[in-house]
Structures are given as C-alpha cells and as structure tokens.
C-alpha cells in the first residue's frame, strides 16, 4: 500500500469545480447502473408529490362525500372513493407523508444508534460480549412480533411507531457496523492514531467511523424500505398509525373489508407502496454496487 504519491489527486479534481465533479460522478453512475437512477427518480418525484400535496390533490383527504360512496376510479375521484365517500387519491398522497416520514426517520435513527453501539461494541471487546448477547436476544424475536408487543406497551401513534421500528431494526445495523469495525480497527492508521495518544472518541469517530460508511449507507436505504413495509403492516393490523391519519397501511386495512365491492380502496395504496419499496431497493442495490464492490459480488 503506497500512500505518498507526491501529489494529492483530490486537489486536481477539486480544481475543476464541485458542480463538474458531481455531474461526472452522476453520469458515470447512470451509465453503470440505470436501475438505480430510475429508482432515485421515482423516489424523488414521489417525495415532491407528498410535499406539495396541498396543491396537487383534488379533494380534501378527510372530507366525506356521502353521495360518492364506493364511486369507481374516474375523472371525479382518480383512485375512486371509499366507504364513506372520501377521495382515495388524496388519502394515498397524504398517507405517503406519514409513510415516508416513518421510513426516513427510522433510517436516520437506526443509522445513528447502530453506528454508535456498533463502533463502541466492535472496538472494546469487554463491552462487546455483553452488547452482542443483548443484540442477539433482540434479534431472536420475529421483527413484527416485537414491534407489536412494544406497540402494546406504548400505544399507537406516528412517533411511537418510529421509535418501535427503530428499536427493532437497530440490532441489525449494529451487526453491520460491528463487522466492519472489526476489520478496520486492525488497520495501521488506527494503530498509528493510538500510538500518538489520540483519545478513544477521536479514534472511533474520526478514524474508524468514516471507513465503515459504505455498508452503512447501503443498509440505511434497505431499512428505509423495510420501515415503510413494517409501518404498513402495523397499521394494516390496526395497531400502528391511528385510523384518523391516513397511511398506506390504514387505507389497505379498510379496503380489505370492501374487497368485493370496491377493490380500488386496497389496490391503489398497495400499488404505490410496492412501487416505492421497489424504487428504494433499486437505489439500495445500485449504491451497494457503487460503494461496496465486495458485497455486490455475493448478493
């Protein structure tokens, strides 16, 4: 491993400007992995759709139009109307707000807590023995069952759902971080940092953490998708987001009762959910190929 090359390649790249760098990076990725770009565009457009929902929906998501009960999809209600005449399109778009919020917050929290626990545990063997047993125990529960039991304890609300899914998914992120910490901490630069007397916090967060980021970023996108699916499952079972706030799982749960009369109530939220999860998985696979060539060969 040669470190000194007499010049810094980053400086040369920086000379051409940040915008140029971002653009070349982007077009190279596009050529290498069009799927990832497709997924990214779907996610971006859907996020914009939910952010600007107020201007883009034709009806209020909670208003009731009794005369439109069970109206099939058409020009009045694009995705049809539900059992009390609410507009399914508006509910799906506003439901996306809740679902994407849950997915985003969970992947942020899981990344932060997973990084912290994984770094400390991977670096210090004494803590590791205890922490790993706790993580193994948490992972022994089937994910949805643990989430349901925690919901029984905390009650259902958007932030409780976020907290619960974070608790359930964190051990899986810890495992990813820990396994890269175990290899990174043997590197010479870590030893060098230790040798010049750097404090543990500096070694962990300045020297080790940046070098574990590739698999962490990849996993974070998968957790985004997984969290949205888990939220939908919880709400579908009637134990997640309370029925007043539309969420994809809620609408699906309602649509289940009217499958025969009005399949559209369940069909559209499920379709949108599937497309979003698919897009996230495409982005995750693309990031994995780009950032972590070792992983991409295996899975």
């Amino acid at each position: 491993m040669t470190i000194s090359r007499g010049y810094n390649p980053n400086e040369i790249r920086q000379a051409k400007g940040t915008a140029y760098r971002v653009w070349t990076q982007f077009s190279r990725m596009m050529k290498k992995n069009p799927n990832m770009i497709i997924g990214f565009i779907i996610l971006l457009s859907f996020t914009l759709l939910t952010i600007f929902a107020d201007f883009l929906v034709t009806h209020d998501p909670v208003s009731i139009y009794p005369e439109d009960r069970f109206m099939p999809p058409g020009s009045e209600h694009w995705f049809g109307a539900d059992n009390v005449g609410r507009d399914v399109y508006a509910r799906v778009i506003y439901g996306g707000r809740v679902s994407l919020l849950v997915g985003f917050m969970v992947s942020v929290f899981v990344t932060l807590s997973g990084l912290f626990i994984g770094l400390v545990s991977g670096y210090t063997p004494k803590i590791d023995i205890v922490v790993q047993r706790i993580m193994d125990a948490l992972m022994s529960f089937p994910t949805l069952l643990l989430a349901l039991a925690l919901i029984a304890m905390l009650g259902g609300s958007v932030w409780n759902v976020i907290a619960v899914i974070t608790i359930v998914d964190t051990p899986r992120m810890v495992r990813v971080v820990r396994s890269s910490v175990l290899t990174v901490k043997e590197q010479q630069y870590v030893e060098a940092a230790r040798g010049i007397g750097a404090p543990i916090s500096r070694i962990l967060f300045v020297h080790i953490a940046p070098n574990t980021m590739a698999p962490v970023i990849v996993q974070a996108t998968y957790f985004f998708a997984l969290a949205i699916l888990t939220e939908a499952s919880l709400s579908f079972l009637g134990l997640g987001i309370p029925p007043e706030d539309p969420s994809w799982g809620n609408i699906l749960s309602l649509g289940r009762k009217y499958l025969q009369q009005a399949f559209w109530i369940a069909f559209f939220p499920g379709l949108v959910l599937t497309i979003n999860v698919l897009a996230m998985n495409l982005v995750g696979d693309g990031l994995r190929d780009a950032l972590d060539p070792k992983l991409s060969r295996r899975a």
Partner: protein, 319 residues
C-alpha cells in the same frame, strides 16, 4: 465437533436469559392493571378495593416484580405459561390449539419457495447474463418489494372472487378434512407467504452458484471435458449449497413474521393471528408466552443451522 456444539450451545443460554428479561419487562412496563382487565374494564370503578386486591392476590401480581419474574420463568420450564386474562384457559392449551394451522401455513409457504426458488436460482446462475437470468432477477426484485397483504388481496380478488378457484379465506386441517380440502384452502396463503422467500432463495442460489462457477476447479473440470450437467450437479451445486443453508434458516425466522400477516388476511386460526388479537385485547400472558415460544424456537433453529454449517464446512469448527 462435539466441543464445538457444546460451546455453541452454551452461548445460547445468556441469549435466552436476556430474551426472557426483555419479554417480562415489556409486559411489566405496559400501562394498565391486569387485574382491571380481568374485572372487565370499566367495571373496575365499581369494584371495591378489597375485590381488586383479591384478584391481584390470586394472579400473583401483588408480589415484587423479581419474584413474579422467577415464578413466570419457572413456569415456562414446566410448560406452564399462565392463563389468558379473558377465558382463564391455560396459555399452553390455547397455543396447542393453534399450532397446526401455523405450522401448515409456514411449511407450505417455504415448500413452495424452495420448490420454485431453487430451480430458478440454479437456472439463472447457470445461464448467467442471458434472458433467463434477467427474467429471474426481475422476478426476484419484484417479489421482494411486494408487501404480503397486497399480494394476498390481488390473489383473492383474481383467484377467489373473479375465477372462484379457491376459497376466500379459512383453514382446513390436513388430518380431519383430508388433503384435497387442505390444499384448496392453503394454496393462496402459501403463495402469499412463499413469494418473498422464493425471490430471496432464487437470488441467493444464483449469486452463490455464480461465485462457485468462477472457481479454478470448475475450469479444470471443463477443460478435461466433463459434461456441463455433471459439472453443475457434482461439482458446483454442492459447494454452492453452503450459503443456501444459512438463508433457509433465516427464511424460517422471517416466515413467522410473514405468517402474522398471512393468517390475518386469510383468517387462518394460527398463532400469528392469536398474537395480534392478544395485543389488541392486552392479554399479557398470551403475548408473553408466544414471544417466548417464537424467540426460543428461533434461537434453537439458529443453533441447528450453525451446527449443520460446521458439519458441512469443517473450517467453521476451528474459527
């Protein structure tokens, strides 16, 4: 080998202990007095303090939490999981009523996943970068993204409501109602549960096979003129089966999560649906009992997979 098994077994004990502590604490921290639930919700307002105290005494929840924990854990070892707060039947009896439906659903789902997923993965890995490979991979990506309940709706809508081939929901026992009825009722739930695992197994089999096929000894086998079929069945598949074993262990664990949804959608009287109902009713002994059962079986399943792994690959034993 026996030394490895023993060491691996001893590692599971602290995990099981922590599992039981987590399970017990969740229910201790849950708001609401179980005695109030037994006395029937609002009726608590009319019950005298003495009546409430009697119920708490009978349930043993007036003791300190530590004592309660050991009572409960001791009961678990002799198969006594307490009683349901509502029906006062024993939890182990209630669970035993639900095992058949859950086991049937999980095994049928995994059977379908293996039956279709393995050949798909082998075919895709063998014919890498052809249209067969691409089709399988598209299916694998799709199958992984479709949520179980939505897939179930579409299957019910198409095959039950429109075509009338299968019943909309319900469960028939293999033993009392015969195999034909059983299969008619289990078909859609099994597909619902199986598709995601089919995708996972196909993907895993493919990548594992692709890796093995690039090894030197496969090139040697090819260069000495062995038939492709023999290379595949004798040399490649055996080596490629290692990661697949692990993934099947994972699939069993994930199937329990999947079966919660599947049983609810298809109204199958299994443990998953029982759990959801217990959470809704706040029937704590049932929640605790099922969590312990599921987690314990997961821990032992993992143990079995690890031992199988060590058996297949001797290198594992010494690491």
């Amino acid at each position: 080998m026996s030394k490895y098994i023993l060491r691996r077994f001893l590692l599971t004990l602290p995990v099981l202990l922590i599992v039981s502590i987590i399970t017990f604490s969740i229910m201790q921290l849950a708001p609401g007095d179980p005695a109030a639930i037994v006395l029937g919700g609002d009726y608590i307002m009319f019950a005298t303090a003495e009546e409430i105290e009697d119920v708490r005494e009978a349930m043993g929840i007036n003791k300190p939490p530590i004592v309660q924990y050991f009572d409960w854990l001791g009961g678990f070892f002799v198969g006594n999981l307490g009683e349901s707060l509502f029906t006062t039947e024993s939890v182990s009896y209630l669970v035993s009523q639900k095992i058949e439906a859950t086991v049937s659903t999980v095994f049928s789902g995994i059977f379908i996943a293996l039956l279709l997923g393995l050949p798909m993965g082998v075919l895709a890995g063998w014919k890498m970068n052809t249209w067969v490979d691409r089709a399988v991979m598209i299916f694998a990506v799709l199958g992984f993204a479709i949520p179980g309940f939505w897939l179930a709706f579409n299957l019910i809508f198409l095959f039950s409501l429109k075509l009338g081939w299968f019943p909309v929901f319900g469960f028939r026992s293999f033993f009392t109602d015969g195999p034909v009825e059983f299969l008619r009722y289990i078909a859609l739930p099994a597909i619902t549960l199986g598709v995601a695992f089919m995708a996972l197994i196909a993907r895993m089999t493919r990548s594992s096979l692709v890796e093995v096929l690039s090894e030197d000894y496969i090139r040697t086998a090819r260069s000495k003129g062995l038939a492709e079929r023999i290379i595949l069945t004798r040399h490649a598949l055996r080596a490629a089966s290692m990661p697949i074993v692990t993934v099947i262990g994972l699939v069993f664990a994930a199937a329990v999560t999947g079966t919660v949804i599947t049983e609810t959608v298809f109204a199958i009287p299994g443990m998953g649906r029982m759990f959801v109902k217990a959470v809704g009713d706040r029937d704590f002994p049932i929640i605790q009992g099922l969590m312990m059962i599921f987690a314990t079986s997961y821990v032992f399943l993992n143990l079995a997979v690890d031992i199988l792994y060590a058996f297949l690959d001797p290198r594992v034993r010494y690491s």
